[in-house]
């Protein structure tokens, strides 16, 4: 299902309504999408921008789950016709208002929207179409600009750290460190997650504190333990560079360099960092039954079997594609201390919900063989350690996810799972490495 990828809390309510309307015009929309949009927009209105009530991948089961949790937003599918009508009426109303707003010719701030022709992003075998936010259609220029920015050390305070410092393409867009470091060797707090296929994630960062790639993109630039440079300084540094000046002009039209434009360009580049067409994809979606080894085929079966490995309950494999993440947050016990508390409370930072203590976002498993060490704190060094961690049932704590339990797996079965994980390494697209020097 196509997600609703806009950042509902950006701009005013009119802009949001317009975005919602445009989204409905451009995409086939079902009742689940409408539901999700309604919830996201309402959350935004009441100031709950960090508390989306439903994943961007809502499935039929989600409604039941929400109902079981006593969520008043849960609606049973039997009510869906009424709901669709309700939502449609709401959207027609909002679009009318939006139309009026447009006619009144109100002048908005400097546009962050690229002016060139949108380009289609090539999607490799095993991945769904890339969700594109209505306000930032990728263009050849915005992708090229984002790529240049991604590899530019000038976005850091002492001109030593680029985005690629922690998201190194030769290390699967991670940094190979347990805990990442920033400018001047400053110690970060978590393991750098991969950028690969981040385009599909409904929320960014381990704790989901950004609702879009756009919102995520500029955050590490200003973070004191990452690139440690204010957005004002970044923008003025870029504006002084004639090459950038020309690129921004070509990409966004006349107007100054803004952090919004930097965010949009970075996000558009990141939407092209896709990895699929792995041995697993060729086996599962490409009809090549020889693509996996017998051990990997056994590992895949364990991975999917709810009564055995049960890995796919969170690291999802869908019928026509596989993201290996549900985009949600789970407590597996990693990082719990002797006193039962979490040094890093994860998702709780954002939601303040007790159940979210120590919960972190399910990471994708694509290219996992190249992105160690593992877990949000980089505490597990090898894939064998990861499989052993889950086989042992993680670490008990009051917030442990209900799906985490000890699994009786023989040594061979654990080895098969490790072998299967190695089959998820796919090729990178050709144009995501450092750009050629100007």
């Amino acid at each position: 299902m196509r997600q609703f990828p806009l950042s509902p809390c950006k701009g005013n309510s009119w802009q949001r309504a317009l975005e919602a309307f445009l989204f409905c015009c451009l995409h086939p929309v079902n009742w689940q999408t409408l539901m999700y949009m309604r919830v996201r927009l309402r959350d935004c209105r009441v100031g709950l921008r960090e508390t989306p009530r439903m994943s961007a991948f809502p499935r039929a089961g989600d409604v039941d789950d929400m109902k079981a949790e006593g969520n008043p937003d849960a609606v049973t599918p039997t009510r869906k016709i009424g709901l669709r009508r309700l939502a449609a009426v709401g959207l027609i109303a909002s679009s009318t208002f939006s139309g009026l707003l447009l006619l009144s010719g109100c002048k908005s701030k400097i546009s962050d929207r690229p002016i060139g022709n949108p380009v289609a992003i090539h999607v490799p075998l095993g991945l769904p179409p890339v969700p594109i936010p209505p306000g930032n259609p990728p263009t050849a220029d915005s992708i090229a600009l984002g790529r240049k920015l991604f590899y530019d050390v000038r976005l850091s305070k002492d001109n030593t750290v680029a985005c690629a410092f922690c998201h190194n393409p030769s290390l699967g867009f991670t940094d190979g460190m347990g805990i990442s470091r920033g400018v001047g060797g400053m110690m970060g707090v978590r393991n750098a997650p991969t950028v690969v296929n981040a385009a599909y994630l409904p929320l960014q960062f381990w704790d989901g504190r950004a609702v879009s790639l756009e919102e995520q993109a500029a955050s590490p630039i200003a973070d004191p333990v990452e690139m440690n440079q204010t957005h004002e300084v970044s923008v003025s540094k870029l504006a002084k560079d004639s090459t950038y000046k020309a690129m921004f002009l070509k990409t966004f039209g006349p107007g100054p360099v803004t952090i919004g434009r930097v965010e949009n360009a970075l996000a558009s580049f990141e939407r092209t960092i896709l990895s699929g067409n792995s041995a697993f994809d060729r086996y599962q979606f490409g009809g090549d039954k020889t693509a996996l080894t017998p051990a990997q085929i056994r590992g895949l079966a364990l991975f999917q079997d709810p009564k055995r490995g049960n890995c796919a309950v969170c690291h999802s494999i869908d019928a026509t594609y596989a993201l290996f993440t549900d985009g949600k947050f789970h407590n597996i016990g990693e990082g719990v201390g002797d006193d039962g508390n979490f040094k890093d409370i994860g998702r709780y930072h954002q939601t303040k919900l007790e159940a979210d203590r120590g919960a972190f976002k399910t990471p994708t498993l694509r290219n996992i063989a190249n992105t160690g060490p593992y877990m949000h704190d980089g505490s597990l060094k090898t894939l064998k350690e990861v499989v052993d961690f889950y086989a042992g049932g993680g670490n008990s704590n009051p917030y442990l996810d209900k799906e985490i339990r000890a699994i009786a797996l023989s040594g061979q079965e654990r080895g098969d799972l490790v072998e299967f994980l190695k089959s998820l390494t796919g090729a990178m697209p050709p144009n995501v490495g450092p750009p050629a020097k100007d």
Binding site: G340, S379, A391, G392, N395, G411
Partner: protein, 261 residues
């Protein structure tokens, strides 16, 4: 306004009922670390009044055949164990003496509160084996869990009175420091990853406990003069008790014999 007052009274009533209901229930889910307790007076042991209990635990009957433990599931364990591993659930020496029995003072110390030792009790996961297999610890004393192995373990004390927990420890990970807040004879411990690994922890409220050595002997010393019920526990053979009277400066013998088939 009236309705509001009525509501408040109702909810207060409900809250009281709920609280009463809760306090009546046995709480099995106590926190790992207890909340600060008011200062207690610890019982001072006067060395002039103490004696000891010594004895030997024996087993009569057919000695069990040594059973080899198969670790081939995890080749790293086979390597780490250095040689064959044998089942240790009933280890009887040639002369019938029984090791790894847990001996403790079950009755006779009521009303006395003993200071918690500052030194931790260590259990090591080494060679894919818990060492020691049987250990005693005082309530609230620190249990230090060490992983000396090149593999991941997941220690799981299957406590019934205390809180049950499990924790993963990878190679080179820092030791865990945990405590048991209630007495419990015995907590069975397993590794969630290696099915053959077992240990037993006896949690007692005093320092008067021992584990029988390879020659079956044990000693509980520094015990105030008095009459006690001494109990012995063995994982396959169950428990036995004896009345023992300890006098100052003397060692009182207390031997136990488990009869096999």
């Amino acid at each position: 306004m009236k309705m509001n007052l009525l509501l408040k009274i109702c909810s207060a009533g409900c809250a009281i009922t709920l609280m009463a209901g809760c306090s009546a229930k046995p709480k099995s889910d106590q926190p790992a670390v207890p909340a600060a307790v008011p200062a207690v007076t610890y019982f001072k042991v006067d060395p002039a009044t103490t004696g000891s209990i010594t004895g030997t635990i024996r087993f009569t009957g057919k000695k069990p055949m040594p059973k080899v433990i198969d670790m081939s599931e995890d080749p790293a364990c086979v390597e780490a164990h250095h040689g064959k591993a044998f089942d240790e659930s009933l280890v009887v020496a040639k002369n019938g003496s029984l090791s790894n029995a847990f001996i403790y003072v079950k009755q006779g110390l009521e009303g006395k509160t003993f200071e918690v030792p500052k030194t931790p009790v260590t259990i090591d996961q080494s060679g894919c084996w818990f060492r020691p297999r049987v250990l005693g610890i005082q309530t609230n004393q620190t249990l230090q869990v060490v992983n000396s192995d090149p593999v991941t373990h997941n220690i799981h004390p299957m406590a019934e009175v205390n809180r049950e927990w499990n924790h993963s420890q990878g190679p080179g990970d820092a030791p865990l420091n945990r405590r048991f807040v209630k007495p419990e004879i015995m907590i069975k411990v397993k590794c969630n990853i290696h099915s053959w690994m077992h240990a037993f922890i006896g949690v007692v409220e005093n320092p008067y406990y021992a584990v029988s050595k390879d020659d079956g002997t044990f000693e509980i010393s520094n015990l105030p003069a008095g009459t006690y019920t001494v109990a012995v526990w063995q994982e396959n053979l169950g428990t036995q008790e004896q009345q023992v009277t300890v006098t100052a400066h003397n060692s009182t013998a207390s031997n136990f014999t488990f009869k096999g088939k």
